[in-house]
Structure formats: structure tokens, C-alpha cells
């Protein structure tokens, strides 16, 4: 202990003596450790602590069903399905269901638009969440539809809106214009069960029909609208539970003697890995970011190791003297390691400071949407523990090799090295060179990836989406929370379309339920197609969207055949749909889709048009089969108005809101944005990727170039005498320049080759996040390599010039 303290003191003095070295090393480490801590806090908010406030969230699993042959993968549960799973399983200690909803809450006149969840009565129990004030829901709240008009609000909303007033419990409010009572306040940390969202209000599932007037899906077995959340019983594995639930699914199918249940399987997913949750969106990005900061740390460690190696050369005599005084080699190694750990600790300390600052950067990079997005990012104990581990590891990694190297020499060896008869010592440089090659390789990898993301981002902007993005403005309304039924809602749409069309400068107006490329998810359905023999386990399916008249024209989607919807396609007329090219091709296989018929539920509806394919869920995916239904015929209360007008869409916003409020002044209008912004928001992962990777790529490049410069400058300084000899022997300035530049560039080229190889090999890991650019895109590679070699030439130019400035008469003086 005493030795350790003495050595710490010794190390501190040593670092203090060489402040320049210490400053560069600590800064390098602080930046890279700070980056690692930051990304760790982000990733841990997704993977390790996806549901803050939930007890033991690792045992809470998302329950989803998979229909045989449905390409779309997993789907939600219907309420009757849920009841069966809940009552028959023995492997879960509890199974709850939730559905995210947007509601309007009125407590003192002004309605507040809030995001919340419809939840089963056992929701809070299953999650292990207790009210911080009042109560949560109880089994009574689950008993009969419409009876439990109670709600729990979030701690944040309580503070924000009620200023933390304890009398709020028991207060009567109106939710979607219906009377409710606040019965409890959720704990501070709890944000609901949707990863990546901060929700503010919870309502019992029995109140579904009140919250969503005009729809009574509680008892419909085919209506899958709920997400299951189960907690594993202690000692039960995920696989056991999954097998049991799949068996229950089969039982349900057998009892009801329908096709539906047969071959259905159940999937159980950790919160962060639910295929339709926030983790599915953020997970891959986090993975890329984590690898990136890992690389940055690697580069930084290589840099510091190089600095230490350089330092070690200057201390060889000191080491030789210590050895000759009887120190053992491991004493010296330990002393040097104490020094590098002290360096790492300083870097780690400053790194945490940087991270506390980067904590909020993620929130700033999340897309500008209407959803209350937000991760519970925080510098908690776990993050600090991680930082400590990374710091120690880094200290050992960058400290060990130089320590071994520095103490390898014998006394006489140090003397021989110190003699001046022989110039050079480049062989000792090998390790330093290897470190520089590693650094360059890692920064090629970083920069190539950043470049790919940057191109993706550009592509999202210029991609031929099959849409004409310019000049379209969006505004959303929510008729549910304002208590509209389908008759009133349809009338409202009709009138709004007419008024908006009459606004000055407007070319066309339409409505859409799901704006393409939004984050709001998608709906799909399976159906029968007249004249198409679907394989047994592969029923015809497609994405569905409800749209108004002139939808294709307003978005600039080309009509390939037939017609699009007009104002006459309403409930009084025969049901019609428009299909996209993929759907036409797939189910009419060369025949004519227009005039064909599809059975949706019990009704046969006719295809009246074919629209060009446009991506629906994401720009990355090829468009799937999709059909459009007239919203005036099949009412949906949650629509977005699309307005195509001359000039900047923003300049028409006021008029559009005015037109809506002229019809209903109390209606909340939200999500005012241009279609271009909307599509850009959908590219937020690419933006996140290119910004963060770009920043880290530049950091990595700077560190690598610093390393290259340092190694070369050191090598030139070490070889002042050699340069003098060469000059004396007649080497010209150009020859010397070429020699040193060549030496540096050889390292850079080796690094580039290695890095390019790695980037080619690892490219497919990011291909899922790229848009319209191949992970081996030659232009990106060429650009990156060119930029890197240019930077490397600059980094080498300074030492090279210094080599030519060596005064041979001085360098060769015999001292």
C-alpha cells in the first residue's frame, strides 16, 4: 500500500514534469472515454434499462403472435385472445395488455393533447409499479366494459399541469369529452411500457369504447390491437413460456375450428428486442454507434501507447540505472503501469464530464415528431461503473506494451544505444509503426461508414420515392378525442376538403390515415383475391391505407391504370380500392387488376385503379403490396390533411388551420409540417448515424493523423544524425523529402489497405441502415481514401520538411 502511494506520487510528479505529453494524452483519452460513456448511456437506455421504474424489467417480455405465412411477421393480440392466454398459461406470473393512444384531457377548460396507454387492470401489477400517490388499477377495473372511468397520470404531467397538487387524486376530469376520475399518480421514473416514449396517462382497457367512440373492438377476436406484456415466473425460461403460449394458441384454434389459430405461433421478446418496438428502430443504430466509439477508443489507446513509447526512449538511461541498482523488471513495469493508470484515470474523469454534457445530445437528435419521444438517458451508477472498467482496461492496454518495451533493455544495451557511432534505431520503431497502421485502419473504417450514412441521408432527400415531395403541407386532426362518430367525422372531412380546396394558391387537397414513411407504424390485412389461388399457408396480404379523394394527385403518385378516388366514393356507393403495382403484379399475375375483386371480411370490393409503387414503411425497404381504401367510405378518425399549393407549404399553414377551426374551433390541429420535413424525419437514423459517425470519424482521423505525425516527427528527430549523413553523402532536399514522406505514407497506405479490407468485410453490418447506397460503394471508398491520404500527406509534410532542414555540420559534430 505504501509502495503504491509512493509510486502514485512518483507518477504524478512524472506527469507534472512533462505537461505537454500529459495534456495531449489526457485530452485524447477524455474525448474517447467520454464518447464511450455517452454511447453507453444511450445504449443502456435501450437495452439495459428500457423501462425505467419497472421492477426487474429483464423478465418482462413482449408477447406477439405470428400467423403462418404472413410476411409482415408478428402481430398483436385481440382482447379475447389475450384473455385466453392470460387465464390458461402457467409460465407467466402475469400477462397484461396495452395500446398506445392519443387522448385529449380537460381539467379546467382547456383540453390537453396527451399520449397514453389503454391498459389491462393488472398492467401496473405485472410491471411491479406502485402509485406514488393514490392507487393504480385493480382487478375491479377490469371487470365490465365502460364501468371504470378512472385514470392514472404520470408524475411529469402531474408536476407540469397540476404543479404537484396532492388533491389531484380524486379529481374529476374529462377525457375525450367523457367524465373520468384521476385515481393515482405514477412514480417519477415510470414512463409507460413503450420503449422510447414518455407517456402521460393510463386508462383501463374496459374503457376502450369510451376512449375510441364508435369502435367496439373489445370482444372482436379477429381485431388484433393490443400488445401483450408478460412477466416470466421465477425459474421459467423464455423458451418454456413461448412453447406453452404457442400450445395455447393451437388450443384456441382447435376449439374455435377456424383456420385462424392453426399454425399460429407466439413470440416472446425482451422489451428492447420487440420487432415492432422502439428497440427495433434504435437497436441497430446503437450497435453501430457502440462499435464506432469502441474504434475511437482503440485509436486513442494506440495514440497514447505511442506517446508512452516515445517517452520510454527518453527514459532508457533512467531504467538502466534503476536496473543496475537492483530493481527487478516487474518493479519497473509496475511503476510504469501506475503511471499509465493515473493517466487513464485523469482521462476517464474528464471523459465523464464530457459525457454529462453529451447526455442531452441524443434527445436533440431524435426526429421532430409529434410523439413524446425520449429515452431515459442518464449518467447513473451503471454508466460510471462502465466508465471505470473502460478506463482501467484502456490504461492497461496502452500502458503494458510500452512498459514492457521500456524495461527490456539491459544496462549495457542502453549504453550502446546511447553511443553516437551508429545513427538510427529504426528497428525499435516497428511497434510504433504498427500502432499507427492500426489507427489509420480504424479511421478508414469510421470515415467510410460515416460517408455511407451521409450518402444515405442525401439519397433520402433525392431518392425517387415515386412521390412529389415539394409543395405539400401536412396537418393532422384527431376526431376521436373530440368525440366525433363516423357520420359526423365523414361530414367533417367532406366539408374540410371543400373549404381547403377553395383556399388561394391551393392545387389539390386530400386526406390520408397513415402518411407514407412516418414513424406511426403500418397496418396490414389478409384477404381473398378473386381468381387467385393462395397457397395454403400463405394467404394474400397487403398494407392498407385509408385516403381521401385526389390522394394520388396530391402526393404526385402516378396513376398507372384506372382511376383514383373521387368525392363520390363514399358509404352510399359500392366499395372500391386502388392497389399498388406490386399488389397488382402479385395477385393478378399479368392479368388485369382493374375490375378485379377482393374480399375484405365479408364484403367483396372492386379494384378501380393501380398506383405506382411508393415506399410505405421505410425508404430502405422495397414497397410491399399495398392498397388504398376511400376514407369517406371506410371512416378513420385519425387523418392527416394533405395540401398541395404553390410556394412554401409553411405559408399556407395558417389558412389551413383557419379552415379547420372554421368548422370546429375546439378541434386540436397538430403535426403541422411539410411533406419534405416529414420524410426527412423518417431518415433520422441516417442523420443520427452520419452526424455521430461523422463527428467520431473526424475525431478518429485527427487522432490518427496526430499519431502519424508524432511517429514520423519522432523518427526524424531520432535520426537527425542519419539525415546529416545522408546530406553529407549528397542526398538532395527532394530526395530527403521523398524519403520521409514515403516512410509516412507507406504507413498510411498500409493502414488504408487494412481499413478498406475491414470496411469491405464489415459493410454488411450497416447495410440495413443504408439508403440507396451499397455498403461497398466505390465512390465513398475512393473519396474517403483520397481524403485520408491527403490528410496523411499533410501530417507527414511537417516532419519531412524538418528532415530537410537538418544542418549536417551540426548534426555530424562529434560531441
Amino acid at each position: 500500500m505504501e509502495t503504491l502511494l509512493r509510486e502514485l506520487g512518483h507518477a504524478a510528479r512524472g506527469l507534472n514534469r512533462s505537461r505537454g505529453f500529459t495534456a495531449v494524452a489526457v485530452l485524447t483519452l477524455a474525448l474517447s472515454i467520454g464518447a464511450n460513456t455517452t454511447i453507453f448511456t444511450w445504449a443502456s437506455a435501450v437495452f439495459l434499462d428500457p423501462l425505467p421504474g419497472v421492477a426487474d424489467s429483464g423478465r418482462v417480455l413482449v408477447v406477439q403472435q405470428k400467423e403462418p405465412g404472413n410476411n409482415e411477421g408478428y402481430v398483436s393480440l385481440s382482447y379475447p385472445d389475450y384473455r385466453d392466454y392470460r387465464d390458461r398459461n402457467t409460465t407467466l406470473s402475469g400477462l397484461a395488455v396495452t395500446r398506445n393512444v392519443m387522448v385529449s384531457l380537460e381539467s379546467d377548460g382547456t383540453p390537453q393533447r396527451l399520449y397514453g396507454q389503454i391498459v389491462s387492470g393488472n398492467f401496473f401489477d405485472v410491471l411491479g409499479v406502485r402509485a406514488s400517490l393514490g392507487r393504480t388499477f385493480a382487478p375491479e377495473d377490469d371487470r365490465a366494459p365502460g364501468e371504470s372511468a378512472v385514470l392514472v397520470i404520470s408524475h411529469a404531467f402531474w408536476q407540469r399541469h397540476f404543479a404537484g397538487d396532492a388533491n389531484v387524486v380524486g379529481r374529476a376530469v374529462r377525457l375525450n369529452k367523457q367524465p373520468f376520475t384521476i385515481v393515482g399518480i405514477a412514480p417519477r421514473e415510470f414512463r409507460g411500457s413503450a420503449l422510447g416514449m414518455r407517456l402521460d396517462v393510463w386508462v383501463p382497457v374496459m374503457m376502450q369504447a369510451v376512449v375510441e367512440p364508435g369502435s367496439t373492438r373489445l370482444e372482436e377476436r379477429g381485431n388484433r390491437w393490443l400488445e401483450g406484456l408478460g412477466r416470466l415466473r421465477p425459474g421459467v425460461s423464455r423458451e418454456t413460456a413461448r412453447a406453452e403460449l404457442t400450445q395455447i394458441a393451437a388450443q384456441i384454434g382447435a376449439e374455435r375450428k377456424t383456420e385462424a389459430g392453426r399454425g399460429r405461433s407466439v413470440g416472446l421478446f425482451p422489451i428492447a428486442r420487440s420487432p415492432r418496438g422502439g428497440g427495433a428502430v434504435l437497436g441497430p443504430v446503437m450497435l453501430v454507434l457502440a462499435s464506432v466509439v469502441g474504434l475511437v477508443l482503440l485509436i486513442a489507446c494506440a495514440n497514447v501507447a505511442n506517446l508512452l513509447l516515445t517517452r520510454a526512449v527518453g527514459r532508457e538511461r533512467e531504467m538502466a540505472v534503476r536496473l543496475s541498482l537492483g530493481a527487478r523488471r516487474r518493479d519497473l513495469v509496475r511503476q510504469l503501469l501506475v503511471e499509465s493508470l493515473l493517466l487513464a484515470a485523469l482521462g476517464g474523469g474528464f471523459g465523464v464530464l464530457l459525457a454529462s454534457w453529451g447526455e442531452h445530445a441524443l434527445q436533440a437528435m431524435l426526429p421532430p415528431t409529434d410523439y413524446p419521444l425520449g429515452l431515459a438517458v442518464g449518467l447513473n451508477g451503471r454508466a460510471l461503473g462502465f466508465t471505470l472498467a473502460v478506463t482501467t482496461l484502456a490504461g492497461l492496454v496502452f500502458g503494458l506494451v510500452p512498459a514492457l518495451q521500456a524495461t527490456r533493455g539491459t544496462t549495457s544495451g542502453a549504453l550502446r544505444e546511447g553511443s553516437s557511432a551508429v545513427a538510427g534505431g529504426r528497428r525499435r520503431q516497428r511497434l510504433r509503426n504498427a500502432l499507427v497502421v492500426t489507427q489509420v485502419a480504424a479511421s478508414v473504417l469510421l470515415l467510410v461508414t460515416a460517408g455511407l450514412f451521409l450518402r444515405s441521408l442525401g439519397n433520402v432527400r433525392s431518392f425517387d420515392l415515386g412521390l412529389d415531395l415539394k409543395g405539400v403541407g401536412l396537418a393532422s386532426v384527431d376526431l376521436v378525442s373530440s368525440g366525433y362518430d363516423s357520420a359526423r367525422g365523414t361530414a367533417f372531412y367532406r366539408e374540410l376538403l371543400e373549404r381547403a380546396r377553395a383556399l388561394p394558391g391551393v392545387e389539390s387537397v386530400s386526406l390520408v390515415r397513415r402518411v407514407p414513411l412516418g414513424l406511426g407504424g403500418s397496418s396490414s390485412t389478409s384477404f381473398e383475391v378473386e381468381g387467385y389461388e393462395a397457397p395454403k399457408d400463405d394467404p394474400a396480404w397487403a398494407y392498407v391505407n385509408n385516403v381521401g379523394p385526389d390522394f394520388l394527385r396530391t402526393l404526385g403518385i402516378r396513376l398507372v391504370d384506372g382511376r383514383e378516388f373521387g368525392p363520390g366514393d363514399d358509404a352510399q356507393h359500392p366499395e372500391v380500392i386502388v392497389v399498388n403495382e406490386t399488389m397488382a403484379r402479385r395477385y393478378w399475375q399479368g392479368g388485369k387488376a382493374v375490375g378485379g375483386r377482393v374480399r375484405l371480411g365479408d364484403d367483396w370490393v372492386s379494384v378501380v385503379g393501380i398506383a405506382r409503387d411508393t415506399p410505405f414503411t421505410s425508404v430502405q425497404e422495397p414497397p410491399g403490396p399495398t392498397f388504398y381504401m376511400p376514407i369517406l367510405q371506410r371512416y378513420r378518425p385519425d387523418a392527416t390533411v394533405l395540401l398541395r399549393a404553390h410556394g412554401d407549404p409553411a405559408s399556407h399553414q395558417g389558412a389551413l388551420v383557419g379552415a379547420i377551426h372554421a368548422l370546429d374551433p375546439s378541434l386540436a390541429v397538430f403535426g403541422l409540417r411539410s411533406l419534405e420535413d416529414h420524410v426527412q424525419a423518417s431518415a433520422f437514423r441516417q442523420r443520427l448515424g452520419s452526424q455521430v459517425l461523422g463527428a467520431f470519424g473526424v475525431l478518429g482521423l485527427a487522432l490518427a493523423m496526430l499519431g502519424l505525425y508524432g511517429v514520423l516527427a519522432f523518427s526524424v528527430a531520432q535520426r537527425t544524425r542519419e539525415m546529416g549523413i545522408r546530406t553529407a553523402l549528397g542526398a538532395s532536399v527532394a530526395t530527403l523529402l521523398r524519403q520521409v514522406l514515403g516512410e509516412g505514407l507507406r504507413l498510411a497506405v498500409l493502414g488504408v489497405l487494412l481499413g478498406t479490407g475491414l470496411a469491405l468485410a464489415l459493410g454488411r453490418l450497416v447495410s440495413g441502415l443504408l439508403v440507396g447506397v451499397s455498403p461497398v460503394d466505390p465512390a465513398t471508398f475512393a473519396g474517403t481514401i483520397g481524403a485520408l491520404l491527403l490528410a496523411a500527406s499533410l501530417a507527414c509534410a511537417v516532419p519531412a520538411r524538418r528532415a530537410t532542414r537538418v544542418d549536417p555540420a551540426v548534426a555530424l559534430r562529434h560531441e
Binding site: 550502446r416 553516437s420 557511432a421 551508429v422 545513427a423 538510427g424 534505431g425 529504426r426 528497428r427 544524425r721 542519419e722 546529416g724 549523413i725 545522408r726 546530406t727 553529407a728 553523402l729 549528397g730 542526398a731 538532395s732 532536399v733 527532394a734 530526395t735 544542418d807 549536417p808 555540420a809 555530424l812 559534430r813 562529434h814
Partner: protein, 239 residues
């Protein structure tokens, strides 16, 4: 005496002043000197009198503060950097007290170095390097690194490197200073042989034994030539 009559080197009023930390050092204070083709000139004088400075200027490693230096009828003042490099490479061969071999290059590569700066063909370089190593008796060590050789052997390699390019003049700055007397003698014998074979040599030494090998000894004191002596006595011994 095998010196012919044309002056290969002609110095007039050569001075060199070093400025360091506001101190002026007059290392050379008006040197007049001629060295003829084929001559063997020794330079001697106490430490710090300016011998090495003079040799650096002769070898175009440094420039005088004033005065003229004419080498092979060419005034060197007007030469640019690349012309000076070319002259160092072709006309001058250096031998240093501390050998100054490059530690990362083996014996062969060290000797080859001046030729590579000429862009000579590899096969020709090989012949020349081997001949030079042969001449100094180091051909059997061509793959060794300098650190694997004794001081005397290293200096012989340095001599080979100096003469491989067939320069007009060899400049040697206390070539035996780092050697024991036996090795020192061997290097001096080598120099004498080279001289007999026609080389022009200018060598700094303060060992009077070696100075006696030279045709002429120039004594420098405080940056000035104070005496010139011809070692006639030594001449019969050479014959």
C-alpha cells in the same frame, strides 16, 4: 610527390562566424589555402581552433560567412541546394571521427548509399560497392550491421563509402579519433594507400605521427593558418 599543378581547392579570406545566445564565435578568421589535385594535406591544431568548421565548408556542409571558395574552378557561393548536393555526392567523400554509419542499413547498403543518390543502375552499383569493400578489406562483412562490427571495421566501411563514388577529394575529420592505436594505424595505412593510388586527401588530425604521412601539414590556431610545413623527412619512408 604526385600532386599535379592545378589547384583543386582555392580558399581566399575565408571566415566563419557562429552566433549563439548573443555570443559571436569566430571559428575561422581569414583562411587562405590551396589544395592541389593528388595532394595529401593534413590539418592540425588544438581543439576548438576551427578544423572541423573548415572541413564542413570544404565539404559544402556549411557556408562561409565571407571569403571565396573555388572548387574545380567553380566558385561555390553561387550554387543552389541541389547543385551543392550533387557536388557532395560526386566530388567529395567524407570520413568522420564517429564513423556515422546508418544503423539500420547493413554494410553493403551503407556503402551503396551515395550511389543510390545518383540514380545509378543496380548492377553497376554492385560492382562498385564490392570493389570498394574489397579495397578496404571488408567484403566478407557486407551483410553485417554496423553494430556487429568493431570500431576499426566500421571506420573501414566508412572509408569504403567515402571512396565508392570516386570523388575528387576525400575529407577526413580525425578518422582515428575513436580508434585504438592498432586500428588507427590500419586506417591510416589505408589512407596512405588511397593517396598513392591517386586520391586527393584532406585530413584533420592532431596526431603528429599521422600528419607525417601527408605531403603538407597546415597548422591552424584560432581560425587562422599559422604555419605550413612539408614533411620532407617522411617522404623517403613512403617510397
Amino acid at each position: 610527390m604526385n600532386a599535379s599543378n592545378d589547384a583543386m581547392i582555392k580558399l581566399e579570406g575565408l571566415t566563419k562566424v557562429f552566433y549563439t545566445d548573443e555570443v559571436e564565435t569566430h571559428a575561422l578568421a581569414g583562411i587562405h589555402l590551396e589544395i592541389l589535385r593528388g595532394e595529401y594535406v593534413a590539418i592540425s591544431g588544438p581543439s576548438g581552433c576551427g578544423k572541423s568548421t573548415l572541413l564542413s565548408i570544404l565539404g559544402l556542409l556549411d557556408s562561409p560567412s565571407s571569403g571565396t571558395y573555388v572548387l574545380n574552378n567553380t566558385p561555390v557561393q553561387g550554387l543552389d541546394l541541389s547543385q551543392r548536393a550533387r557536388i557532395r555526392n560526386r566530388e567529395i567523400g567524407f570520413i568522420f571521427q564517429s564513423f556515422n554509419l546508418i544503423g539500420d542499413l547493413n554494410v553493403y547498403e551503407n556503402v551503396e548509399l551515395p550511389l543510390t543518390y545518383r540514380g545509378m543502375k543496380a548492377s553497376e552499383r554492385k560492382d562498385r560497392v564490392n570493389a570498394a569493400l574489397e579495397r578496404v578489406g571488408m567484403a566478407h562483412r557486407s551483410k553485417h550491421l554496423p553494430s556487429q562490427l568493431s570500431g576499426g571495421q566500421q571506420q573501414r566501411v566508412a572509408v569504403a563509402r567515402a571512396l565508392v563514388g570516386a570523388p575528387s577529394i576525400l575529407l577526413a575529420d580525425e578518422p582515428t579519433g575513436n580508434l585504438d592505436s592498432k586500428n588507427g594505424d590500419a586506417v591510416m595505412d589505408l589512407m596512405r594507400e588511397l593517396h598513392r593510388a591517386g586520391s586527393t586527401i584532406c585530413m584533420v588530425t592532431h596526431d603528429p605521427r599521422f600528419a607525417r604521412h601527408a605531403d603538407r601539414t597546415i597548422h591552424i590556431f584560432d581560425g587562422r593558418v599559422v604555419e605550413e610545413s612539408t614533411e620532407a623527412a617522411a617522404a623517403p619512408a613512403l617510397a
